[in-house]
């Protein structure tokens, strides 16, 4: 079965510091990959997506992600976090032609002053 793994359940980062969230996936030579962010009590907002082409993709809110086929990874990064980046982040992979997704368990990001 296809899987998406986010190894870090919880990350604490200082405001202004860099952030990297890890995501590993299984199965698929050319996966369709996504990162979403969820604030408490809200729906999920799409940050960025990778379908093909340039392996470094830019998203909203200053986020970027790099697809590495050799490592089956799609890590999310931000050079300098803001207090408003405190949220839960989900990595996802499209799993079939009907558009179903497999989501990772999420990483909770806490931003300290």
């Amino acid at each position: 079965a296809q899987s998406v793994t986010q190894p870090d359940i919880h990350i604490t980062v200082s405001e202004g510091a860099s952030l990297e969230l890890r995501c590993n996936y299984s199965y698929g030579a050319t996966p369709y990959l996504f990162w979403y962010v969820q604030s408490p009590g809200q729906g999920l907002q799409l940050l960025l997506k990778y379908f093909s082409g340039d392996t470094l993709v830019q998203g909203i809110k200053g986020f970027e992600a790099e697809f590495k086929r050799s490592q089956s990874s799609f890590n999310l990064r931000k050079p300098s976090v803001h207090w408003s980046d405190a949220a839960e982040y989900f990595c996802a992979k499209k799993t079939d032609s009907w558009g179903k997704f497999q989501f990772g368990a999420g990483t909770q990001v806490v931003v300290t002053p």
């Binding site: 979403y36 999920l44 799409l46 379908f51 009907w98 558009g99 179903k100």
Partner: protein, 113 residues
């Protein structure tokens, strides 16, 4: 532009009572539609998806059901709620065919007492 609505935003229901959650999408045609449940501190579980009117696929056997009476309307129902049905219910839509992202609604917080 496309928008997705869910209602109600919050709901408190006693065990054994019926349930009806509604999701509607505006600004697109023939979307793929999805219902997810997010239990406290856990990731997203796909419950149902639909690729067309009257077509429903169930991912997890349970006492919930879904219907799609119109192209852009997706309803989640139950005849008798269980305590375990408590959670945050998210509706999402995606363009039909090809690689595509999903866009999420604001969610419904359901508490079964």
């Amino acid at each position: 532009s496309q928008t997705i609505h869910q209602w109600p935003a919050t709901l408190v229901q006693p065990v054994g009572s019926p349930l009806s959650l509604e999701c509607t999408v505006e600004g697109t045609s023939n979307p793929n539609l999805y219902w997810y449940r997010q239990a406290a501190g856990r990731g997203l579980q796909l419950l149902f998806y639909s690729v067309g009117i009257g077509q429903i696929s169930s991912e997890v056997p349970q006492n919930l059901s879904a219907s799609r009476p119109q192209d852009r309307q997706f309803i989640l129902s139950s005849k008798k709620l269980l305590l375990s049905d408590s959670g945050f219910y998210l509706c999402a839509w995606g363009p039909p065919g090809g690689p595509s992202e999903q866009y999420f609604g604001p969610g419904t917080r359901l508490t079964v007492t």
